[in-house]
């Protein structure tokens, strides 16, 4: 269906063509023309997403050496490894838009680019691992499933794979919580305590209320976002409440109640001051998360330099051999 453009098209023509494709739910691919704003917004969104996968390894990684059974250790290790993999696809997707991974990493470790605020909370007991799977991955999936239909091809395809693995992680997390709720009183207490700590931050993962989210409209027009923050948040709450009941945990919101008229749950307002404070960098773990990533990157500089130097030497040797 791609229209053959023989003459050099004007910007307006290109833009019209682009808008037409997007409106028809056709995919934009790396070599296609796209408006600068679209490109920039996508790079920002994809790289924030990539950073979130990478930083998100830390709160879970915190329990790798202490997992209470070898089976749980293997599950957790595989999960954290998957997240590194997601980070890799997503950085690749950003690179198709002309971004440079090294540059994105620099922006992350100098706090010039953000990642999901949720990862600035500490993991304090092993139930946190389950709750992250259940609530945090659950919220991520709500956010991400629509992105599998994102207008930008490479991002949409990465999202298909990411969502598939995240659903698997979510089920594993929920299964851990089920097991713990069938266990000792101490285990049940851990699950409830972890739920109390993660519930509100999970709701905040959908971003500020629609009234405070100025970029939503444009992103929706471009089909790189498909629902508003509040729509997604509502969907998440409605989806999670019965899961909490099945588990036997109480969600820490006294205002949470089924509204039979609107056929959805009413719920309380997250502490948006806390959200803003964490976003500004003052959450319980912001400084540590970025510092750990920065240290890993800087400590690894000599290794990456060595790999580059070796590659150059290898290429030179192969050339010499070819000439000989």
């Amino acid at each position: 269906m791609t229209q053959q453009l023989t003459d050099t098209p004007t910007d307006q023509q290109l833009e019209d063509h682009f808008e037409g494709r997007v409106a028809n739910d056709q995919r934009i691919e790396p070599r296609d023309w796209m408006p600068d704003g679209y490109r920039k917004t996508l790079v920002r969104q994809i790289s924030q997403h990539a950073h979130s996968e990478i930083i998100g390894m830390q709160p879970e990684g915190n329990w790798l050496t202490r997992a209470p059974s070898l089976r749980r250790k293997a599950i957790l290790l595989a999960k954290v490894q998957d997240e590194a993999g997601h980070g890799l696809y997503l950085y690749s997707a950003a690179e198709t838009l002309g971004a440079d991974r090294e540059d994105l990493t620099t922006k992350l470790i100098s706090s010039r680019q953000k990642y999901s605020s949720i990862f600035n909370y500490p993991t304090l007991n092993f139930a946190d691992i389950g709750v992250i799977g259940w609530l945090v991955d659950g919220a991520a999936i709500c956010n991400q499933v629509p992105l599998c239909r994102s207008s930008y091809g490479p991002y949409a395809r990465a999202m298909v794979r990411v969502c598939k693995e995240e659903s698997f992680h979510q089920r594993q997390g929920y299964e851990l919580l089920m097991t713990m709720m069938r266990g000792t009183a101490a285990q049940q207490e851990m699950v409830q305590e972890a739920t109390n700590r993660w519930w509100w931050p999970s709701l905040m993962m959908f971003g500020p209320p629609d009234g405070d989210s100025p970029n939503t409209q444009q992103s929706m027009a471009w089909r790189i976002k498909r629902h508003t923050n509040d729509e997604l948040r509502q969907k998440f709450v409605d989806m999670t409440v019965p899961q909490a009941e099945a588990l036997g945990v109480t969600l820490p919101d006294p205002e949470l109640v089924w509204n039979s008229e609107s056929e959805r749950h009413d719920f309380g307002t997250p502490d948006w001051d806390e959200f803003k404070n964490v976003l500004k960098g003052n959450g319980p773990c912001n400084a540590e998360r970025v510092e750990r990533r920065r240290r890993a990157h800087e400590d690894g500089q000599w290794v990456r330099d060595a790999a580059a130097a070796h590659a150059v030497k290898q290429a030179a040797r192969q050339q010499t051999e070819a000439l000989a």
Partner: protein, 253 residues
Amino acid sequence: AQDLAAYCVMLGDDALVLSQRLTEWVTGAPELEDEVALANIALDLLGQARLLLARAGQSDGSDRSEDDLAYWRDDRQFRNVRLVECPNGDFAETIARLLVFSTWRLAVLSRLTDSVDPVLAAIAAKGVKELTYHREYAAKWAVRLGDGTAYSAERMQAGLDAVWPLVAELFTTHEVESRLARVDVTVESSAVRDEFDTVLAQVLPAGDLSTPDRPALGAVAGLAGRDGVHTEHLGFLLAEMQTLARAHPDAVW
């Protein structure tokens, strides 16, 4: 059966403890690709450990599970070689240890695929594929670092030097192994030294690295890792690894 169990514990503890050490690299590796690779290797070794410890618990008649063995023994009862319990050091030292360990273990496990114990043979067959990849990963990095910058070459040689005193212990045949070798369950560790030397004689020169000339690390009155006499590091590693499991002895996870 006691000997078979003891031997499975040795090989299982090697894998479990090195897996734990490699896990410490997660979120700290030089590049995301290495993050994935090191996690993958840790996961493979963890898988081997689980099978081997489960086999040990079956064959000694104690009916202990993999978790009973991993979480409820003290360091004195761990039977891993001391090589695997030492701290990671830098990336070069981690690679040096992985190269040495995977070369040795691949040589052992490839012999074990012919074991008269079918379970051990099956575990070994699975492990051989995994270790082939581990050895390749380590060898590639050893060559890259050795043939990289002046600094990386120095680090890589220093890494090899640091782990070398612990290599001899890999080839010290324990009496359990001797007895099992006589009944074709396994081979003596000392029998795979040639293969090990041959492999390293290919890898090291490719990275302009020399075989360290370092004496073996002393034992304590002749006792070392396989006898449960470890370095000071293992106790700390286990304290961390076992803390949660031990805090909840009645829990199922």
